[in-house]
Symmetry: C2
Subunit: 319 residues, 2 copies
Protein backbone atom coordinates (compact mmCIF):
# COMPACT_ATOMS: atom_id res chain seq x y z
CA UNK A 1 0.00 0.00 0.00
CA UNK A 2 2.84 2.39 0.84
CA UNK A 3 4.15 2.41 -2.76
CA UNK A 4 0.71 3.12 -4.17
CA UNK A 5 0.10 6.18 -2.00
CA UNK A 6 3.66 7.43 -1.37
CA UNK A 7 3.27 10.73 -3.24
CA UNK A 8 -0.11 11.49 -1.68
CA UNK A 9 1.21 10.53 1.75
CA UNK A 10 3.93 13.18 1.44
CA UNK A 11 1.21 15.77 0.97
CA UNK A 12 -0.68 14.41 3.98
CA UNK A 13 2.47 14.53 6.11
CA UNK A 14 2.97 18.15 5.09
CA UNK A 15 -0.55 19.01 6.20
CA UNK A 16 -0.01 17.14 9.47
CA UNK A 17 3.26 18.92 10.23
CA UNK A 18 1.82 22.28 9.22
CA UNK A 19 -1.39 21.99 11.20
CA UNK A 20 -0.01 20.57 14.44
CA UNK A 21 1.87 23.88 14.89
CA UNK A 22 0.88 26.35 17.60
CA UNK A 23 2.38 29.38 19.30
CA UNK A 24 2.19 27.32 22.46
CA UNK A 25 5.47 25.42 22.01
CA UNK A 26 4.50 22.39 24.08
CA UNK A 27 1.78 21.47 21.55
CA UNK A 28 3.99 20.73 18.49
CA UNK A 29 6.67 19.30 20.81
CA UNK A 30 4.35 16.75 22.39
CA UNK A 31 2.27 16.05 19.26
CA UNK A 32 5.44 15.69 17.19
CA UNK A 33 6.80 13.04 19.55
CA UNK A 34 3.86 10.79 18.77
CA UNK A 35 3.22 11.83 15.16
CA UNK A 36 6.86 11.54 14.09
CA UNK A 37 7.49 8.54 16.31
CA UNK A 38 7.05 5.59 14.00
CA UNK A 39 3.32 5.81 13.36
CA UNK A 40 2.35 3.72 10.37
CA UNK A 41 -0.21 6.24 9.04
CA UNK A 42 -2.47 3.27 8.40
CA UNK A 43 -5.75 5.18 8.57
CA UNK A 44 -4.74 8.08 6.29
CA UNK A 45 -3.23 5.53 3.88
CA UNK A 46 -6.62 3.81 3.74
CA UNK A 47 -8.28 7.10 2.76
CA UNK A 48 -5.67 7.62 0.06
CA UNK A 49 -5.83 4.05 -1.29
CA UNK A 50 -9.64 4.07 -1.37
CA UNK A 51 -9.57 7.40 -3.24
CA UNK A 52 -7.19 5.81 -5.73
CA UNK A 53 -9.53 2.83 -6.05
CA UNK A 54 -12.22 5.31 -7.16
CA UNK A 55 -9.85 7.11 -9.58
CA UNK A 56 -10.27 10.31 -7.59
CA UNK A 57 -8.02 12.93 -9.18
CA UNK A 58 -8.29 15.84 -6.72
CA UNK A 59 -6.45 16.84 -3.57
CA UNK A 60 -9.26 17.19 -0.99
CA UNK A 61 -8.35 13.84 0.52
CA UNK A 62 -4.97 15.13 1.71
CA UNK A 63 -6.51 17.44 4.29
CA UNK A 64 -9.13 14.87 5.28
CA UNK A 65 -6.58 12.08 5.68
CA UNK A 66 -4.65 14.43 8.00
CA UNK A 67 -7.87 15.03 9.95
CA UNK A 68 -8.30 11.25 10.36
CA UNK A 69 -4.72 10.93 11.63
CA UNK A 70 -5.30 13.78 14.11
CA UNK A 71 -8.36 12.01 15.51
CA UNK A 72 -6.33 8.82 15.80
CA UNK A 73 -3.43 10.64 17.49
CA UNK A 74 -5.80 12.34 19.93
CA UNK A 75 -7.27 8.97 20.92
CA UNK A 76 -3.78 7.48 21.36
CA UNK A 77 -2.77 10.34 23.69
CA UNK A 78 -5.93 9.85 25.75
CA UNK A 79 -5.63 6.04 25.67
CA UNK A 80 -2.15 6.18 27.12
CA UNK A 81 -3.44 8.36 29.96
CA UNK A 82 -6.41 6.04 30.51
CA UNK A 83 -4.24 2.90 30.51
CA UNK A 84 -1.32 4.50 32.34
CA UNK A 85 0.89 3.23 29.52
CA UNK A 86 4.63 3.85 29.60
CA UNK A 87 5.67 2.51 26.20
CA UNK A 88 4.22 2.80 22.69
CA UNK A 89 6.00 1.68 19.52
CA UNK A 90 9.10 1.05 21.66
CA UNK A 91 9.32 4.67 22.87
CA UNK A 92 8.33 6.33 26.12
CA UNK A 93 4.78 7.66 25.93
CA UNK A 94 3.94 11.36 26.02
CA UNK A 95 2.18 11.02 29.37
CA UNK A 96 5.41 9.68 30.91
CA UNK A 97 7.54 12.47 29.43
CA UNK A 98 5.19 15.46 29.75
CA UNK A 99 2.60 14.18 32.21
CA UNK A 100 -1.08 13.29 31.96
CA UNK A 101 -2.41 16.88 31.96
CA UNK A 102 -0.41 17.85 28.86
CA UNK A 103 -1.40 14.63 27.06
CA UNK A 104 -5.09 15.21 27.76
CA UNK A 105 -5.01 18.82 26.58
CA UNK A 106 -2.86 18.29 23.48
CA UNK A 107 -5.21 15.45 22.54
CA UNK A 108 -8.09 17.92 22.84
CA UNK A 109 -6.20 20.36 20.65
CA UNK A 110 -5.56 17.78 17.90
CA UNK A 111 -9.17 16.68 18.04
CA UNK A 112 -10.38 20.28 17.59
CA UNK A 113 -7.84 20.82 14.84
CA UNK A 114 -9.14 17.78 12.97
CA UNK A 115 -12.59 19.39 12.89
CA UNK A 116 -11.09 22.66 11.70
CA UNK A 117 -9.52 20.74 8.78
CA UNK A 118 -12.86 19.14 7.92
CA UNK A 119 -14.62 22.51 8.07
CA UNK A 120 -12.03 23.92 5.66
CA UNK A 121 -12.84 21.09 3.27
CA UNK A 122 -16.48 22.04 3.65
CA UNK A 123 -18.28 18.71 3.28
CA UNK A 124 -21.06 18.28 5.83
CA UNK A 125 -21.21 14.62 4.85
CA UNK A 126 -17.57 14.09 5.84
CA UNK A 127 -18.18 16.04 9.05
CA UNK A 128 -21.15 13.82 9.81
CA UNK A 129 -19.15 10.62 9.20
CA UNK A 130 -16.19 11.63 11.31
CA UNK A 131 -18.10 13.29 14.16
CA UNK A 132 -20.23 10.15 14.41
CA UNK A 133 -17.12 7.95 14.33
CA UNK A 134 -15.51 10.05 17.09
CA UNK A 135 -18.54 9.69 19.35
CA UNK A 136 -18.65 5.95 18.69
CA UNK A 137 -14.94 5.60 19.47
CA UNK A 138 -15.42 7.36 22.82
CA UNK A 139 -18.44 5.16 23.59
CA UNK A 140 -16.38 2.07 22.77
CA UNK A 141 -13.56 3.22 25.04
CA UNK A 142 -15.93 3.86 27.95
CA UNK A 143 -17.59 0.50 27.29
CA UNK A 144 -14.20 -1.19 27.43
CA UNK A 145 -13.42 0.64 30.66
CA UNK A 146 -16.63 -0.77 32.13
CA UNK A 147 -15.82 -4.27 30.86
CA UNK A 148 -12.22 -4.10 32.06
CA UNK A 149 -11.28 -6.85 34.48
CA UNK A 150 -14.70 -8.51 33.95
CA UNK A 151 -13.79 -11.91 32.60
CA UNK A 152 -17.43 -12.81 31.95
CA UNK A 153 -17.59 -10.28 29.06
CA UNK A 154 -19.25 -12.13 26.15
CA UNK A 155 -17.64 -12.52 22.74
CA UNK A 156 -20.44 -10.47 21.19
CA UNK A 157 -20.00 -7.68 23.72
CA UNK A 158 -16.26 -7.67 23.09
CA UNK A 159 -16.73 -7.54 19.31
CA UNK A 160 -19.07 -4.59 19.87
CA UNK A 161 -16.36 -2.83 21.86
CA UNK A 162 -13.62 -3.24 19.24
CA UNK A 163 -16.02 -2.48 16.44
CA UNK A 164 -16.54 0.89 18.14
CA UNK A 165 -13.13 1.74 19.55
CA UNK A 166 -11.00 0.52 16.64
CA UNK A 167 -13.03 -0.35 13.55
CA UNK A 168 -15.24 2.77 13.43
CA UNK A 169 -12.31 4.99 12.45
CA UNK A 170 -11.03 2.47 9.87
CA UNK A 171 -14.53 2.43 8.35
CA UNK A 172 -14.83 6.22 8.36
CA UNK A 173 -11.33 6.68 6.88
CA UNK A 174 -12.34 4.50 3.92
CA UNK A 175 -15.86 5.87 3.56
CA UNK A 176 -14.85 9.52 3.20
CA UNK A 177 -12.95 8.59 0.03
CA UNK A 178 -16.35 7.77 -1.50
CA UNK A 179 -17.61 11.21 -0.46
CA UNK A 180 -14.75 13.21 -1.98
CA UNK A 181 -14.96 11.11 -5.17
CA UNK A 182 -18.69 11.89 -5.23
CA UNK A 183 -19.75 8.28 -5.64
CA UNK A 184 -23.13 6.94 -4.60
CA UNK A 185 -24.23 5.51 -1.25
CA UNK A 186 -23.54 1.89 -2.28
CA UNK A 187 -19.87 2.72 -2.90
CA UNK A 188 -19.63 4.45 0.48
CA UNK A 189 -21.19 1.41 2.13
CA UNK A 190 -18.79 -1.00 0.42
CA UNK A 191 -15.79 1.05 1.55
CA UNK A 192 -17.23 1.33 5.06
CA UNK A 193 -17.66 -2.44 5.13
CA UNK A 194 -14.09 -3.01 3.96
CA UNK A 195 -12.66 -0.66 6.60
CA UNK A 196 -14.83 -1.93 9.44
CA UNK A 197 -13.95 -5.59 8.90
CA UNK A 198 -10.29 -4.79 8.38
CA UNK A 199 -10.37 -2.84 11.65
CA UNK A 200 -11.87 -5.74 13.58
CA UNK A 201 -9.36 -8.19 12.05
CA UNK A 202 -6.55 -5.79 12.89
CA UNK A 203 -7.60 -5.49 16.54
CA UNK A 204 -8.08 -9.26 16.98
CA UNK A 205 -4.57 -9.86 15.63
CA UNK A 206 -3.26 -7.24 18.05
CA UNK A 207 -5.00 -9.13 20.85
CA UNK A 208 -3.43 -12.42 19.75
CA UNK A 209 0.05 -10.92 19.28
CA UNK A 210 0.04 -9.70 22.88
CA UNK A 211 0.36 -13.35 23.96
CA UNK A 212 2.89 -14.48 21.33
CA UNK A 213 5.14 -11.69 20.07
CA UNK A 214 8.49 -10.62 21.41
CA UNK A 215 9.14 -7.05 22.42
CA UNK A 216 10.77 -6.06 19.11
CA UNK A 217 7.68 -6.85 17.06
CA UNK A 218 5.23 -4.70 18.92
CA UNK A 219 7.31 -2.13 20.72
CA UNK A 220 5.74 -3.48 23.87
CA UNK A 221 6.25 -6.61 25.88
CA UNK A 222 4.34 -9.87 25.71
CA UNK A 223 1.53 -10.02 28.23
CA UNK A 224 0.84 -6.31 28.60
CA UNK A 225 -2.89 -6.90 28.15
CA UNK A 226 -2.70 -9.79 30.63
CA UNK A 227 -0.98 -7.73 33.32
CA UNK A 228 -3.39 -4.82 32.74
CA UNK A 229 -6.38 -7.12 33.21
CA UNK A 230 -7.57 -6.43 29.67
CA UNK A 231 -10.24 -8.91 28.69
CA UNK A 232 -9.57 -9.69 25.00
CA UNK A 233 -10.88 -12.44 22.73
CA UNK A 234 -8.15 -15.01 23.55
CA UNK A 235 -9.05 -14.71 27.24
CA UNK A 236 -12.80 -14.85 26.55
CA UNK A 237 -12.35 -18.07 24.54
CA UNK A 238 -10.00 -19.76 27.04
CA UNK A 239 -12.32 -18.77 29.90
CA UNK A 240 -15.39 -20.13 28.11
CA UNK A 241 -13.68 -23.39 27.21
CA UNK A 242 -11.92 -23.94 30.53
CA UNK A 243 -12.89 -25.87 33.64
CA UNK A 244 -13.70 -24.40 37.04
CA UNK A 245 -10.02 -24.05 38.01
CA UNK A 246 -9.21 -22.33 34.72
CA UNK A 247 -12.05 -19.87 35.20
CA UNK A 248 -10.89 -19.07 38.70
CA UNK A 249 -7.41 -18.43 37.34
CA UNK A 250 -8.71 -16.09 34.61
CA UNK A 251 -10.93 -14.25 37.06
CA UNK A 252 -8.04 -13.71 39.47
CA UNK A 253 -5.75 -12.71 36.60
CA UNK A 254 -8.18 -10.13 35.18
CA UNK A 255 -8.80 -8.77 38.68
CA UNK A 256 -5.07 -8.16 38.99
CA UNK A 257 -3.90 -10.74 41.51
CA UNK A 258 -1.92 -12.86 38.99
CA UNK A 259 0.71 -10.76 37.29
CA UNK A 260 3.93 -12.78 37.73
CA UNK A 261 5.92 -14.34 34.89
CA UNK A 262 4.74 -17.75 36.08
CA UNK A 263 1.14 -16.59 35.88
CA UNK A 264 1.70 -15.34 32.33
CA UNK A 265 3.33 -18.68 31.39
CA UNK A 266 0.31 -20.48 32.85
CA UNK A 267 -2.04 -18.19 30.91
CA UNK A 268 -0.23 -18.90 27.65
CA UNK A 269 -0.35 -22.65 28.38
CA UNK A 270 -4.13 -22.43 28.94
CA UNK A 271 -4.58 -20.38 25.76
CA UNK A 272 -2.66 -23.05 23.81
CA UNK A 273 -4.54 -25.94 25.36
CA UNK A 274 -7.85 -24.42 24.29
CA UNK A 275 -6.65 -23.19 20.88
CA UNK A 276 -7.64 -19.69 21.99
CA UNK A 277 -4.86 -17.91 20.06
CA UNK A 278 -5.34 -19.91 16.87
CA UNK A 279 -9.07 -19.43 17.00
CA UNK A 280 -8.71 -15.69 17.63
CA UNK A 281 -6.56 -15.55 14.49
CA UNK A 282 -9.15 -17.66 12.66
CA UNK A 283 -11.86 -15.17 13.66
CA UNK A 284 -9.60 -12.38 12.39
CA UNK A 285 -9.17 -14.22 9.07
CA UNK A 286 -12.93 -14.39 8.68
CA UNK A 287 -13.28 -10.63 9.20
CA UNK A 288 -10.34 -10.13 6.84
CA UNK A 289 -12.11 -12.20 4.19
CA UNK A 290 -15.26 -10.11 4.67
CA UNK A 291 -13.14 -6.99 4.11
CA UNK A 292 -11.71 -8.42 0.89
CA UNK A 293 -15.13 -9.51 -0.34
CA UNK A 294 -16.45 -5.99 0.24
CA UNK A 295 -14.05 -4.91 -2.50
CA UNK A 296 -15.73 -7.28 -4.98
CA UNK A 297 -17.68 -4.60 -6.89
CA UNK A 298 -14.55 -2.58 -7.65
CA UNK A 299 -12.42 -3.21 -10.72
CA UNK A 300 -9.14 -5.01 -10.35
CA UNK A 301 -5.94 -3.00 -10.41
CA UNK A 302 -3.09 -1.73 -8.28
CA UNK A 303 -5.35 0.05 -5.77
CA UNK A 304 -7.54 -2.98 -5.15
CA UNK A 305 -4.46 -5.19 -4.86
CA UNK A 306 -2.98 -2.81 -2.30
CA UNK A 307 -6.17 -2.88 -0.22
CA UNK A 308 -6.25 -6.70 -0.34
CA UNK A 309 -2.59 -6.79 0.68
CA UNK A 310 -3.35 -4.48 3.60
CA UNK A 311 -5.70 -7.14 4.95
CA UNK A 312 -3.20 -9.93 4.37
CA UNK A 313 -0.46 -7.91 6.02
CA UNK A 314 -2.65 -7.19 9.05
CA UNK A 315 -3.27 -10.93 9.50
CA UNK A 316 0.32 -11.95 8.74
CA UNK A 317 1.57 -9.99 11.76
CA UNK A 318 0.42 -12.93 13.88
CA UNK A 319 2.92 -15.31 12.24
CA UNK B 1 -31.29 36.75 31.96
CA UNK B 2 -32.92 33.57 33.23
CA UNK B 3 -36.46 35.01 32.97
CA UNK B 4 -35.86 36.20 29.42
CA UNK B 5 -34.75 32.79 28.15
CA UNK B 6 -36.56 30.40 30.50
CA UNK B 7 -38.78 28.83 27.83
CA UNK B 8 -35.91 28.41 25.36
CA UNK B 9 -33.71 27.03 28.10
CA UNK B 10 -36.23 24.27 28.76
CA UNK B 11 -35.85 23.22 25.13
CA UNK B 12 -32.06 23.33 25.43
CA UNK B 13 -32.16 21.21 28.58
CA UNK B 14 -34.30 18.66 26.74
CA UNK B 15 -31.74 18.45 23.95
CA UNK B 16 -28.94 18.13 26.50
CA UNK B 17 -30.67 15.33 28.39
CA UNK B 18 -31.65 13.54 25.19
CA UNK B 19 -28.25 13.73 23.54
CA UNK B 20 -26.06 12.81 26.52
CA UNK B 21 -27.72 9.37 26.43
CA UNK B 22 -25.79 6.27 25.36
CA UNK B 23 -26.20 2.53 25.59
CA UNK B 24 -23.01 2.63 27.63
CA UNK B 25 -24.59 3.43 30.99
CA UNK B 26 -21.54 5.08 32.53
CA UNK B 27 -21.77 7.93 29.98
CA UNK B 28 -25.14 9.43 30.99
CA UNK B 29 -24.38 8.60 34.63
CA UNK B 30 -21.10 10.54 34.69
CA UNK B 31 -22.20 13.30 32.31
CA UNK B 32 -25.45 13.71 34.25
CA UNK B 33 -23.59 14.23 37.52
CA UNK B 34 -21.91 17.32 36.08
CA UNK B 35 -24.69 18.52 33.78
CA UNK B 36 -27.42 18.24 36.40
CA UNK B 37 -25.16 19.33 39.22
CA UNK B 38 -25.86 22.99 39.58
CA UNK B 39 -24.37 24.25 36.33
CA UNK B 40 -25.58 27.74 35.57
CA UNK B 41 -25.93 27.16 31.78
CA UNK B 42 -24.35 30.56 31.35
CA UNK B 43 -22.95 29.91 27.86
CA UNK B 44 -26.13 28.46 26.33
CA UNK B 45 -28.11 31.28 27.97
CA UNK B 46 -25.85 33.75 26.17
CA UNK B 47 -26.66 32.10 22.83
CA UNK B 48 -30.36 32.30 23.66
CA UNK B 49 -30.28 35.89 24.87
CA UNK B 50 -28.24 37.06 21.87
CA UNK B 51 -30.72 35.32 19.53
CA UNK B 52 -33.51 37.15 21.33
CA UNK B 53 -31.60 40.43 20.92
CA UNK B 54 -31.69 39.81 17.15
CA UNK B 55 -35.41 38.88 17.19
CA UNK B 56 -34.58 35.40 15.93
CA UNK B 57 -37.84 33.43 15.76
CA UNK B 58 -36.63 29.91 14.93
CA UNK B 59 -35.46 26.96 16.98
CA UNK B 60 -32.01 26.17 15.53
CA UNK B 61 -30.34 27.84 18.49
CA UNK B 62 -31.66 25.19 20.91
CA UNK B 63 -29.46 22.46 19.44
CA UNK B 64 -26.51 24.80 19.07
CA UNK B 65 -26.77 26.09 22.64
CA UNK B 66 -26.72 22.43 23.75
CA UNK B 67 -23.60 21.91 21.62
CA UNK B 68 -21.94 24.86 23.38
CA UNK B 69 -22.83 23.42 26.79
CA UNK B 70 -21.40 20.01 25.76
CA UNK B 71 -18.11 21.63 24.77
CA UNK B 72 -18.07 23.45 28.11
CA UNK B 73 -18.87 20.27 30.04
CA UNK B 74 -16.15 18.34 28.19
CA UNK B 75 -13.59 20.97 29.11
CA UNK B 76 -14.72 20.92 32.77
CA UNK B 77 -14.30 17.13 32.91
CA UNK B 78 -10.82 17.39 31.42
CA UNK B 79 -9.90 20.41 33.58
CA UNK B 80 -10.73 18.54 36.76
CA UNK B 81 -8.44 15.70 35.63
CA UNK B 82 -5.70 18.16 34.70
CA UNK B 83 -5.96 20.05 38.00
CA UNK B 84 -6.61 16.96 40.12
CA UNK B 85 -9.65 18.78 41.51
CA UNK B 86 -11.84 17.12 44.10
CA UNK B 87 -14.66 19.64 44.39
CA UNK B 88 -16.70 21.64 41.88
CA UNK B 89 -19.82 23.63 42.73
CA UNK B 90 -19.64 22.12 46.20
CA UNK B 91 -19.92 18.51 44.97
CA UNK B 92 -17.32 15.82 44.49
CA UNK B 93 -15.90 15.91 40.98
CA UNK B 94 -16.46 13.12 38.44
CA UNK B 95 -12.77 12.20 38.43
CA UNK B 96 -12.97 11.54 42.18
CA UNK B 97 -16.12 9.41 41.89
CA UNK B 98 -15.46 7.52 38.63
CA UNK B 99 -11.72 8.06 38.15
CA UNK B 100 -9.64 10.01 35.65
CA UNK B 101 -9.98 7.51 32.75
CA UNK B 102 -13.78 7.72 32.71
CA UNK B 103 -13.68 11.53 32.97
CA UNK B 104 -11.28 11.82 30.03
CA UNK B 105 -13.32 9.49 27.83
CA UNK B 106 -16.76 10.87 28.68
CA UNK B 107 -15.34 14.33 27.96
CA UNK B 108 -14.28 13.04 24.54
CA UNK B 109 -17.76 11.65 23.99
CA UNK B 110 -19.47 14.95 24.83
CA UNK B 111 -17.06 16.82 22.63
CA UNK B 112 -17.81 14.51 19.69
CA UNK B 113 -21.50 14.72 20.41
CA UNK B 114 -21.35 18.52 20.29
CA UNK B 115 -19.99 18.29 16.74
CA UNK B 116 -22.72 15.84 15.79
CA UNK B 117 -25.29 18.40 16.97
CA UNK B 118 -23.65 21.12 14.89
CA UNK B 119 -23.56 18.85 11.84
CA UNK B 120 -27.28 18.18 12.27
CA UNK B 121 -27.86 21.92 12.26
CA UNK B 122 -25.83 22.04 9.06
CA UNK B 123 -24.17 25.46 9.22
CA UNK B 124 -20.51 25.32 8.19
CA UNK B 125 -20.11 28.81 9.62
CA UNK B 126 -21.19 27.65 13.08
CA UNK B 127 -18.92 24.61 12.75
CA UNK B 128 -16.04 26.90 11.85
CA UNK B 129 -16.67 29.20 14.81
CA UNK B 130 -16.96 26.41 17.37
CA UNK B 131 -14.16 24.17 16.05
CA UNK B 132 -11.88 27.22 16.08
CA UNK B 133 -13.00 28.11 19.61
CA UNK B 134 -12.35 24.53 20.76
CA UNK B 135 -8.82 24.55 19.38
CA UNK B 136 -8.15 27.95 20.99
CA UNK B 137 -9.49 26.72 24.35
CA UNK B 138 -7.12 23.73 24.25
CA UNK B 139 -4.22 26.00 23.30
CA UNK B 140 -5.07 28.29 26.22
CA UNK B 141 -5.20 25.36 28.63
CA UNK B 142 -1.81 24.05 27.48
CA UNK B 143 -0.42 27.59 27.68
CA UNK B 144 -1.67 27.86 31.26
CA UNK B 145 -0.12 24.49 32.07
CA UNK B 146 3.21 25.82 30.80
CA UNK B 147 2.81 29.04 32.80
CA UNK B 148 1.70 27.22 35.94
CA UNK B 149 3.86 27.90 38.97
CA UNK B 150 5.83 30.55 36.99
CA UNK B 151 5.28 33.71 38.99
CA UNK B 152 7.04 35.85 36.38
CA UNK B 153 4.12 35.35 33.91
CA UNK B 154 3.30 38.83 32.55
CA UNK B 155 -0.15 40.41 32.79
CA UNK B 156 -0.40 40.41 28.98
CA UNK B 157 0.51 36.73 28.80
CA UNK B 158 -2.04 35.92 31.48
CA UNK B 159 -4.77 37.89 29.70
CA UNK B 160 -3.91 35.94 26.55
CA UNK B 161 -4.37 32.68 28.45
CA UNK B 162 -7.80 33.55 29.88
CA UNK B 163 -8.90 35.10 26.60
CA UNK B 164 -8.26 31.66 25.05
CA UNK B 165 -9.29 29.23 27.78
CA UNK B 166 -12.39 31.08 29.05
CA UNK B 167 -13.41 33.97 26.82
CA UNK B 168 -13.21 32.18 23.43
CA UNK B 169 -16.25 30.02 24.22
CA UNK B 170 -18.23 32.99 25.62
CA UNK B 171 -17.47 34.84 22.36
CA UNK B 172 -18.42 31.87 20.17
CA UNK B 173 -21.63 31.22 22.13
CA UNK B 174 -22.75 34.80 21.42
CA UNK B 175 -21.48 34.94 17.84
CA UNK B 176 -23.39 31.89 16.60
CA UNK B 177 -26.65 33.70 17.44
CA UNK B 178 -25.72 36.14 14.68
CA UNK B 179 -25.24 33.22 12.28
CA UNK B 180 -28.59 31.53 12.95
CA UNK B 181 -30.35 34.93 12.73
CA UNK B 182 -28.55 35.45 9.39
CA UNK B 183 -27.23 38.87 10.29
CA UNK B 184 -24.17 40.43 8.72
CA UNK B 185 -20.54 40.18 9.80
CA UNK B 186 -20.65 43.41 11.84
CA UNK B 187 -23.40 41.97 14.05
CA UNK B 188 -21.40 38.77 14.54
CA UNK B 189 -18.37 40.85 15.49
CA UNK B 190 -20.31 42.95 17.99
CA UNK B 191 -21.69 39.81 19.67
CA UNK B 192 -18.23 38.21 19.65
CA UNK B 193 -16.82 41.36 21.28
CA UNK B 194 -19.55 41.33 23.94
CA UNK B 195 -18.96 37.66 24.77
CA UNK B 196 -15.18 37.87 24.77
CA UNK B 197 -15.02 40.85 27.13
CA UNK B 198 -17.66 39.38 29.40
CA UNK B 199 -15.64 36.14 29.49
CA UNK B 200 -12.46 37.93 30.50
CA UNK B 201 -14.31 39.93 33.17
CA UNK B 202 -15.92 36.74 34.44
CA UNK B 203 -12.58 34.94 34.77
CA UNK B 204 -10.87 37.88 36.49
CA UNK B 205 -13.67 38.02 39.05
CA UNK B 206 -13.26 34.26 39.59
CA UNK B 207 -9.55 34.88 40.21
CA UNK B 208 -10.32 37.61 42.73
CA UNK B 209 -13.03 35.60 44.49
CA UNK B 210 -10.59 32.78 45.15
CA UNK B 211 -8.86 35.07 47.67
CA UNK B 212 -11.96 36.59 49.25
CA UNK B 213 -15.00 34.32 49.13
CA UNK B 214 -16.12 31.79 51.63
CA UNK B 215 -16.79 28.19 50.68
CA UNK B 216 -20.55 28.68 50.27
CA UNK B 217 -20.17 31.28 47.55
CA UNK B 218 -18.00 29.28 45.19
CA UNK B 219 -18.47 25.68 46.11
CA UNK B 220 -14.76 25.59 46.73
CA UNK B 221 -12.56 26.91 49.49
CA UNK B 222 -10.70 30.18 49.59
CA UNK B 223 -7.12 29.84 48.40
CA UNK B 224 -7.56 26.87 46.04
CA UNK B 225 -5.67 28.68 43.29
CA UNK B 226 -3.01 29.70 45.82
CA UNK B 227 -2.45 26.15 47.04
CA UNK B 228 -2.42 24.82 43.46
CA UNK B 229 0.27 27.33 42.49
CA UNK B 230 -2.04 28.95 39.95
CA UNK B 231 -0.63 32.24 38.82
CA UNK B 232 -3.63 34.57 38.41
CA UNK B 233 -3.88 38.33 37.99
CA UNK B 234 -4.00 39.16 41.75
CA UNK B 235 -0.70 37.28 42.20
CA UNK B 236 0.85 38.87 39.12
CA UNK B 237 -0.02 42.36 40.40
CA UNK B 238 1.14 41.74 43.99
CA UNK B 239 4.37 40.17 42.72
CA UNK B 240 5.07 43.08 40.37
CA UNK B 241 4.38 45.68 43.08
CA UNK B 242 6.16 43.89 45.91
CA UNK B 243 9.68 44.14 47.27
CA UNK B 244 12.37 41.46 47.11
CA UNK B 245 10.99 39.57 50.14
CA UNK B 246 7.47 39.63 48.71
CA UNK B 247 8.68 38.24 45.39
CA UNK B 248 10.54 35.45 47.12
CA UNK B 249 7.36 34.60 49.01
CA UNK B 250 5.25 34.50 45.84
CA UNK B 251 7.87 32.44 44.00
CA UNK B 252 7.99 29.91 46.84
CA UNK B 253 4.20 29.88 47.08
CA UNK B 254 3.67 29.26 43.36
CA UNK B 255 6.33 26.55 43.42
CA UNK B 256 4.35 24.80 46.11
CA UNK B 257 6.41 25.23 49.26
CA UNK B 258 3.99 27.63 51.01
CA UNK B 259 0.59 26.03 51.36
CA UNK B 260 -0.23 26.47 55.06
CA UNK B 261 -3.08 28.60 56.40
CA UNK B 262 -0.50 31.08 57.68
CA UNK B 263 0.97 31.32 54.19
CA UNK B 264 -2.47 31.95 52.73
CA UNK B 265 -3.11 34.64 55.38
CA UNK B 266 0.20 36.26 54.49
CA UNK B 267 -0.67 36.09 50.78
CA UNK B 268 -4.01 37.81 51.41
CA UNK B 269 -2.28 40.47 53.49
CA UNK B 270 0.18 41.15 50.65
CA UNK B 271 -2.65 41.28 48.09
CA UNK B 272 -4.47 43.84 50.27
CA UNK B 273 -1.35 45.95 50.88
CA UNK B 274 -0.80 46.26 47.11
CA UNK B 275 -4.49 46.66 46.19
CA UNK B 276 -4.13 43.57 44.02
CA UNK B 277 -7.67 42.30 44.55
CA UNK B 278 -9.31 45.70 44.10
CA UNK B 279 -7.28 46.35 40.98
CA UNK B 280 -8.11 42.92 39.54
CA UNK B 281 -11.77 43.78 40.04
CA UNK B 282 -11.15 47.20 38.46
CA UNK B 283 -9.62 45.49 35.42
CA UNK B 284 -12.66 43.22 35.28
CA UNK B 285 -14.95 46.26 35.40
CA UNK B 286 -13.13 47.73 32.40
CA UNK B 287 -13.66 44.54 30.37
CA UNK B 288 -17.25 44.47 31.56
CA UNK B 289 -17.73 48.03 30.32
CA UNK B 290 -16.27 47.05 26.94
CA UNK B 291 -18.77 44.19 26.79
CA UNK B 292 -21.66 46.57 27.50
CA UNK B 293 -20.41 49.09 24.95
CA UNK B 294 -20.26 46.35 22.31
CA UNK B 295 -24.05 46.19 22.64
CA UNK B 296 -24.34 49.87 21.67
CA UNK B 297 -25.58 49.28 18.09
CA UNK B 298 -28.50 47.09 19.24
CA UNK B 299 -31.85 48.53 20.12
CA UNK B 300 -32.88 48.84 23.74
CA UNK B 301 -35.26 46.29 25.16
CA UNK B 302 -35.54 43.33 27.48
CA UNK B 303 -32.86 41.28 25.68
CA UNK B 304 -30.28 44.03 25.78
CA UNK B 305 -31.10 44.77 29.41
CA UNK B 306 -30.62 41.09 30.25
CA UNK B 307 -27.21 41.03 28.54
CA UNK B 308 -26.13 44.17 30.41
CA UNK B 309 -27.34 42.66 33.66
CA UNK B 310 -25.32 39.51 32.94
CA UNK B 311 -22.18 41.67 32.95
CA UNK B 312 -23.20 43.46 36.12
CA UNK B 313 -24.01 40.18 37.80
CA UNK B 314 -20.65 38.69 36.82
CA UNK B 315 -18.86 41.65 38.41
CA UNK B 316 -21.13 41.77 41.47
CA UNK B 317 -20.03 38.27 42.50
CA UNK B 318 -16.90 39.90 43.90
CA UNK B 319 -18.86 41.92 46.46
Amino acid sequence: MIQLVAADLNHVNSVILDRMQSEVALIPELAGHLIAGGGKRMRPMLTLACARLLDYGGTRHHKLAAAVEFIHTATLLHDDVVDGSGLRRGRRTANIIWGNPASVLVGDFLFSRSFELMVEDGSLKVLRILSRASAVIAEGEVDQLTAQRRVETSEDHYLGIISAKTAALFAAACRIAGVVAERDESVEQALDCYGRNLGIAFQLIDDAIDYVSDAETMGKGVGDDFRDGKVTLPVILAHARGDEADRRFWREAMEGSRTSDDDLAHAIALLKRHNAIDDTIARARTYGQRAIDALGPFRNGSAKSALVEAVEFAIARAY
